[in-house]
């Protein structure tokens, strides 16, 4: 896992210098590309992390004993999954400051909020599937030992449910990295934005957009590798060994 993380870091730092070796129109714009890639990665990491927390909270709401909590969680998931991400990104950036005066957020923060809310709804379903997959015997054994509600969840149910949810969470995370390109719409200078700007300046769409796509491919591949390493680490039942 550490090796995969190091590989990701090395790739990011080496990306600029590597690209600068390339001929026109990539080489002279290498630093912009690597800056954009870094912004894309930060968008993904922030939204991905917040999205996991949101997903767990919403999954808990969905499986709650309380009717109100179930309704709130279902409403959130219904709205987010039923509307386009682009609309959500625009809404957070343009409409929320009108609805809540003073909630003027910079473009990056707005994008993080919209992306987190979006991936959170999808994560909620992944985590819920994990929670439902835990056999009843596990919670009964924990309760029979005298463990309280909180410990039954934290020590017994959640660790196992999270592990089951992990492959789905990873695929949501990789999808999020690609979806973060929609932050372009509110002016965040992320990878797609950079690629399109340079394309427009140089009138050379093929090398610029191909480079953009390749960088995404590199990032998602590394990300998948990193997640595989995590999955392997938590695979205590040895199902994959």
């Amino acid at each position: 896992m550490a090796a995969a993380a190091v590989l990701l870091l090395v790739t990011l730092t080496a990306l600029g210098p590597l690209l600068s070796w390339l001929p026109e129109p990539i080489g002279p714009n290498a630093s912009q590309f690597s800056e954009g890639a870094r912004t894309t990665l930060w968008l993904t990491l922030w939204s991905g992390t917040i999205g996991v927390v949101l997903g767990v909270v919403a999954a808990l709401g969905r499986t709650s004993r309380h009717w109100v909590l179930r309704q709130i969680a279902s409403f959130y998931i219904w709205v987010i999954r039923g509307t386009p991400l682009l609309v959500q990104v625009l809404f957070v950036y343009f409409a929320v400051p009108v609805l809540i005066p003073g909630a003027d957020l910079p473009d990056f923060a707005s994008a993080v909020i919209a992306l987190s809310l979006n991936v959170g709804a999808y994560n909620a379903e992944a985590v819920r599937a994990g929670l439902l997959a835990i056999p009843r015997g596990q919670t009964e054994a924990a309760r029979a030992l005298g463990l309280g509600r909180r410990h039954v969840f934290m020590d017994v149910v959640f660790p196992q449910a999270f592990k089951i949810s992990l492959p789905a969470l990873v695929s949501n995370f990789v999808a999020l990295m690609k979806d973060s390109s929609l932050a372009y719409a509110i002016g965040v200078v992320e990878l797609t934005n950079v690629g399109n700007r340079i394309q427009a300046q140089t009138f050379q769409p093929i090398p610029t957009l191909a480079t953009t796509a390749c960088i995404y491919l590199l990032l998602t591949t590394l990300m998948t590798q990193f997640s595989n390493a995590i999955e392997h680490k938590v695979d205590v039942e040895g199902r994959q060994k």
């Binding site: 056999p135 015997g137 596990q138 009964e140 054994a141 924990a142 309760r143 029979a144 030992l145 005298g146 463990l147 309280g148 410990h151 020590d155 017994v156 660790p159 196992q160 592990k163 205590v236 039942e237 040895g238």
Partner: protein, 254 residues
């Protein structure tokens, strides 16, 4: 085995009065009244669906009863969180499907409840757990995960896990029914040793040999009622109930 079962012999530990329980329209417990005394091994038999497991599960409130009273060592069995936790730490339970926590090592399975419920320090809990694992013959497997163990070994870990809370009574819900035949004996041997050590036990089982040898008392459940409450000798050798004789014929004890 001496640390457990501090209660004097014959003192009533569990008291059931007029307990009823239904699942939908199906009534699984009908007006069940009985008492279980300290250091007594009660073997509960009967056809499947006769209510024997439900009674065990009602005693530690995994299955809330509809009416009647259950009192365990002075604790009223109800939904009050504080008394429920006290009740459950005094009542150990072993399940048919073992229900070990699959993401935890054997040692962590055994230490989890003492650490969380009794706030025992980790080192102390591990020391106690190793002692228990030695008793069930699994001290060499402490750092394995459940999937690396056989069914019989898993069930012995489950017994050690329940004992780690130093319960006053142990409930066994068909502890050998999910085991391959060659593993039944190792689990029954552990239970036998536990009984010899004076543990109060309620055992739902189809192992008639165990019932005969280890049981102090046999309860026969039929359609949600206690149809017989006898000593093993009377139950097996002087049985006048046609219903019980038919049951014994089916489980093949004679």
């Amino acid at each position: 085995m001496s640390a457990v079962a501090a209660a004097p012999k014959n003192e009533t530990l569990i008291d059931l009065q007029g307990v009823n329980k239904s699942f939908g329209t199906h009534q699984v417990l009908r007006d069940v009244s009985t008492a279980f005394r300290a250091r007594e091994v009660t073997v509960i038999v009967g056809a499947s669906g006769s209510g024997k497991s439900t009674m065990l599960r009602a005693i530690n409130r995994l299955e809330p009863h509809d009416s009647g009273r259950i009192v365990v060592d002075g604790i009223e069995v109800n939904d009050d969180a504080t008394s429920l936790q006290k009740l459950r730490s005094e009542v150990g339970m072993v399940f048919q499907q073992f229900n070990l926590f699959s993401h935890l090592t054997v040692l962590d399975n055994v230490t989890l409840a003492p650490r969380r419920v009794r706030q025992t320090a980790k080192a102390q809990a591990q020391q106690d757990a190793m002692e228990l694992l030695k008793r069930v013959g699994l001290q060499d497997h402490a750092h394995k995960h459940p999937y690396q163990l056989s069914g019989g070994q898993q069930q012995r870990v489950a017994i050690a896990r329940a004992l780690a809370m130093a319960p006053k009574v142990m409930l066994f819900d068909e502890p050998t029914s999910a085991l391959d035949p060659e593993m039944v004996k190792e689990v029954l041997d552990v239970m036998r040793a536990l009984a010899d050590g004076g543990m109060t036990m309620l055992v739902v089982t189809h192992e008639m040999g165990f019932a005969k040898d280890v049981g102090d008392r046999i309860l026969f459940f039929d359609q949600g009622r206690i149809a017989c409450d006898q000593t093993p000798d009377d139950f097996f050798n002087r049985q006048d109930s046609e219903r019980v004789r038919a049951f014994l014929g089916l489980v093949g004890s004679h």
